[in-house]
Amino acid sequence: MATVKLKNIKKTYPNGAVAVRGVDMAIEDGEFVVFVGPSGCGKSTMLRMVAGLENITDGEIEIDDRVINKVSPADRDVAMVFQNYALYPHMTVRGNMAYGLKNRGLPKAEINQKVTDAAKMLRIHDYLDRQPNQLSGGQRQRVAMGRAIVRDPKVFLFDEPLSNLDAKLRVQMRIEIKRLQRRMGVTSIYVTHDQTEAMTLADRLAVINDGRIEQMGAPIELYNNPATLFVASFIGAPQINLIPVQFDGKNLNSGDLQFSGFKDLPENTDLILGIRPDVLEPNNDGQLEMQVDLVEQHGAENLVYGALNGASTTDGYNTEICFKTDQNTQPAIDSVLKLHFDQNHAMVFNKETGERLI
């Protein structure tokens, strides 16, 4: 059981590239924290610094109030699950799981007991004497987790552990990881670029961008209340609809479109109006007009894509729009729909700074 504290962590690589620009974070005992962000944002670097695989350029990392900057990876009492599993290919499953314990000099009987227990928990006890190349991807992933579990570490570190699995397996393993973590109550840090994984696994989610935390909080909080344009567009699938607008003191304007009901916004500033696809609904009195060009049927729900008529086409933002509806609503291709949204659910951002204004 452990807490992890990051205090103004910075990382600069020898070639001068800055990966992490000062991150503060306090992870509580038993908490499942997910770092999510686009590739190259520094999330993996942060994880590797906690693991001890990267030096810390500046700042301090504490596990259970003990500064571990100079502690070797093995003595930090953390276990890591790698993206490509990193199983020792020449050892059996048992050998893989036992290796860390053997290096710590545990008696044989105890090692055996721990390996058997962990294997049962992960349902891999039938494969204990096989080698990794005789296992499927999902089984290898379980072995990699088993290797972490047997160590009974203070902190689990997951570095995109599911990205090598196929979609179905990924969902299964995701659920299993969550259950396992809850059952064992071990503090965990999980890195991913997949926002669905991030949303579903996290107790708290840290959205990382360009070496900084953009926002950290409960997943649903980040979805409903993103602090920045980046967070709003990163969290949520399908992506939030973004419409470039300007405020004239009374209305938000975009090309021929006008949205009323907004106030206290800066004038003569480029703003972005953000509307989640599930907030939009077809309505003949709607404020938006859309020309349908694609309907994706996901089963219980349909996603309708098309062009937004009349909006200004500032560079960087196309005028595509998407909304989510039930399976029975299936507008014809090329039909024109009116869409309504409740302005209480709309968000407004400063285009320049990304800051959320409403």
Partner: protein, 284 residues
């Protein structure tokens, strides 16, 4: 269809010609070695085996005066074995350790050092043979196995191959091992060596053959006949033949030649099996 068959026949014909071309001299040498000295002198090289196989080979291997004045063929065979095996094992150990240091330890001179080692590939043994001799002689190690083998075991080729191989091993394995509490030595022994099995086998084969065939170095390093290797023995026996005197013992010279080629052939056959199996298994 018949078109393809013709091609197969043509290919096989070419291959067969190649095989015959390469192995016929060996066969003739073997056949000739099984005839008596008189037959060879009278009738020249022999294509079919004779009846003297056991006699000649026993004389060459086990009887004093059979090949050299005092040293037995079997002793030279043993000396060659020691040289070949010591040479191969020594090279594997030294070059693996060197490659391990270069690939896994971040010290400032790693890259320049690697290139310096690599450059020594360009220098054949003969370039440094006199200074090396000086050193070994100065240490009083002439006529010892240690003096014979150790100066040869630094290997740029081996270091290069192991370096390339280590670089192909995913870095996550090292990281996982570090988190598993493996010391650098344990990582080397528990993970790198087992993963390098096929590579080690390949280098062992190559180096054994190279070591076995060494001529100049053992010739200089050995002064006593009982330390001669087979390759030196062959050279000496042909020399004795040309000096004349008695009836030239061609069959013994051929027998010694056949004996000298046998161990490398066996090593290659034996290890290659293992080596191919290892390659197939460690895939993925």
């Amino acid at each position: 269809m018949s078109n393809i068959n013709w091609r197969i026949i043509l290919n096989h014909t070419i291959l067969l010609i190649g095989v015959i071309f390469m192995s016929l001299p060996v066969w003739v040498a073997f056949s000739t070695s099984t005839h008596s000295a008189e037959t060879i002198l009278r009738e020249g090289l022999q294509f079919w085996p004779g009846t003297n196989f056991i006699g000649t080979y026993r004389e060459v291997l086990f009887e004093q005066g059979g090949v050299m004045k005092s040293v037995l063929g079997i002793t030279m065979l043993k000396n060659s074995m020691i040289l070949g095996i010591g040479f191969a094992i020594g090279k594997v150990i030294v070059s693996m350790l060197a490659a391990y240091a270069i690939v896994y330890f971040r010290f400032r001179l790693a890259t320049p050092l690697f290139w310096i080692i690599f450059l020594t590939l360009l220098l054949p043994l003969e370039v440094r043979i006199i200074p090396s001799y000086e050193v070994v002689a100065g240490l009083g190690l002439l006529d010892t196995n240690f003096g014979l083998i150790v100066p040869l075991i630094a290997s740029a080729t081996g270091t290069f191959y192991f370096r390339q191989f280590f670089k192909s091993i995913p870095e996550e394995l090292l990281e996982a091992a570090r988190l598993d509490g493996a010391t650098p030595w344990r990582f080397f022994v528990d993970i790198l060596i087992p993963l390098s099995k096929t590579m080690i086998a390949a280098i062992l084969i190559i180096m054994f053959v190279v070591g076995w065939n060494q001529y100049l170095w053992p010739l200089i390093m050995t002064t006593k006949e009982e330390n001669y290797t087979l390759v030196i023995g062959i050279k000496q026996i042909y020399q004795i033949l040309s000096e004349g005197g008695e009836l030239p013992q061609y069959q013994k010279a051929f027998a010694l030649t056949i004996l000298a080629t046998l161990p490398p052939v066996l090593v290659v056959l034996f290890f290659q099996n293992w080596f191919v199996k290892g390659l197939v298994e460690s895939e993925k």
